[in-house]
């Protein structure tokens, strides 16, 4: 059976990717690593994967008006609900940023002056890294539907895990609570929520747990850089207790984590004896036993 494990955090910058990188390099057993933070994929910087395949991801479509055919009737503008059709300098045009790709204008234009163009600049890469296989998505800036790209990354990971007989898939989830996050955790065996001791992180944690309520998933919370504020660490622990969510570990703040990143290593590779590495190993054993 394949074991899928997602590492999430409501807010970015909690150290989620550094922790995922450490997990990916702890065990001798190979893993399939999925960087699902398709908006700001970072793990490849530490893992330096050798890319075997690159695929095109179609994130959506945008409307385009052919001004040779357009009769300037304005019907399309009346129908568009995204305020994406503007009338300037005597002609109607599509504002690419606002266009949602719904195709309604294409359907209602009486002279068929509108066609849809595919947004095909996003990519999905897969390949080898030093402890297994890695898949990561790269959403072209400004494109949407990151949830679908996340799903595509996860499907590819399952395929690879099957072919290579690897039984662990590790997922680095995107920040937030939107469709991309939902897509990165649906159907996983375990969700590790990484948080840090700050008021903002606490309020994000509340929203993350609210989101997770809709899924019956096994989960636990790790508090990163817990010693930066013992007071807030206590509050987070109390909050988790009140929600019945277990604390699986408390990781201390240590600048060595950044040093490791600069040297393209995970913290457990860079210094297996550091207090951070020891705690991460403990968490890993805890959640995979």
């Amino acid at each position: 059976m394949i074991n899928e494990l997602a590492v999430i955090s409501g807010k970015g910058g909690t150290g989620k990717s550094s922790i995922t990188a450490a997990f990916a390099t702890i065990s001798e057993n190979r893993v399939v690593l999925a960087d699902c933070d398709v908006d700001a994929a970072n793990l490849h910087i530490i893992m330096e994967p050798e890319i075997e395949f690159t695929e095109v991801y179609i994130s959506g479509e945008k409307a385009k008006i052919d001004h040779q055919i357009c009769k300037n009737c304005g019907v399309c503008q009346d129908y568009c609900r995204f305020d994406a059709i503007t009338f300037t300098e005597g002609k109607y045009s599509i504002d690419e940023i606002s266009c949602d790709g719904c195709k309604l204008c294409e359907r209602v234009c009486p002279v068929k002056a509108i066609s849809m163009e595919k947004s095909d600049k996003s990519r999905m890469h897969s390949g080898n890294f030093r402890n297994g296989k890695m898949v990561y998505g790269r959403l072209e800036p400004g494109e949407e539907n990151s949830g679908k790209l996340v799903a595509m990354v996860r499907n590819r990971c399952r395929e690879i895990a099957g072919q290579e007989q690897i039984d662990t898939i590790l997922i680095d989830s995107p920040p937030g609570i939107g469709c991309a996050v939902i897509s990165s955790i649906s159907g996983v065996n375990y969700v590790l929520i990484v948080t840090e001791p700050s008021m903002s992180a606490l309020s994000d944690l509340e929203r993350t747990l609210q989101l997770l309520e809709g899924f019956s998933l096994e989960k636990g919370v790790a508090i990163n850089k817990h010693d930066l504020s013992p007071e807030l660490t206590e509050r987070i622990i109390d909050f988790c207790n009140s929600k019945g969510v277990g604390i699986v570990g408390k990781i201390p703040f240590n600048p060595e984590v950044v040093e490791a990143m600069i040297n393209s290593k995970s913290i457990v590779e860079w210094n297996p004896l550091s207090n951070v590495s020891k705690e991460i190993v403990k968490i890993w054993e805890n959640i995979t036993k």
């Binding site: 409501g10 807010k11 970015g12 910058g13 909690t14 990717s17 908006d39 700001a40 970072n42 910087i45 479509e61 129908y79 609900r81 995204f82 940023i97 949602d100 790709g101 719904c102 195709k103 309604l104 359907r107 209602v108 959403l139 800036p141 400004g142 494109e143 949407e144 990151s146 949830g147 995107p174 920040p175 937030g176 609570i177 939107g178 469709c179 939902i182 840090e196 001791p197 700050s198 008021m199 903002s200 992180a201 309020s203 994000d204 929203r207 609210q210 989101l211 809709g214 930066l228 504020s229 007071e231 807030l232 703040f253 600048p255 950044v258 990143m261 600069i262 393209s264």
Partner: protein
Amino acid sequence: MFKIAVASGKGGTGKTFVSTNLYQTFIEYGINAVLTDCDAEEPNAASFFKTELIESKQVTQKVPQIDSSKCLFCGKCQDWCAYNAILIIKERGLSRVMEELCHGCGACSVACENGAITEKEMLLGEVINFSDNSGCKIVEGRLKVGVYTPVPVLKRAINSTYADLAIFDSPPGTSCPFIHTVNASDYVILVTEPTPFGLNDLKLSVEILQKMGRPFSVIINRAGLGNRVVHDYLKRENIELIMEIPFDKEIASAYSKGKLAVSGRPLLAAKFSSLARKLTDKIGGIAL
């Protein structure tokens, strides 16, 4: 109104730290400013201020409902829906709208020739107006948990902002929520960290801002906790480094407790004053 977006390719670089302290600095200079939290998925700028709730407006979107007594199960609405939000199975007499996938584009209503589709409002989130005791305003977009995109909520938050100067605490990343925020602003400040992760994300943001033709500059936060890759990159690309904030455990700890770091820290406050001055020089029309 001049609008400044404070953004960063990834979360947690200190975007909210910069926008809240910059807002406070402008307020102390007596500027009529508003702080708009556009990170509707995880809003928390308002929590740094003593605020009073003024009003909360619901943001809704239209979703179709199908009257099965009028529906002929022809499937045209399903064909016209670009988001797979409608499922029609004639054999089973099934017509279903998956509301969580619906973007409210209205195509299905236009498609249906049998008058079987009407629309109702669905809640996406809210835009909350707060005031602080100096009379200035904080606006927050707050997405309802489980809604597919924050864009309609953050657009509404941006549009309910009136002041001489607006600061947008932008959503993280470089996808549509970020683009919509930046598109509505006149100037962008990118906050990054001096690490390889920070550099990677910064490059993506820079690429898109250059494409959009927005003027911008960069703040390096937690300077000292990394290496010189970001500095070297900025120099090479001739990008303005408008401020550096050194890493300081004490500042991090104050921030983590939800306190404004400029209060009671003259050195940091001076840095933010100098940032505010540099920004007003760029803006024109606003004097400190």
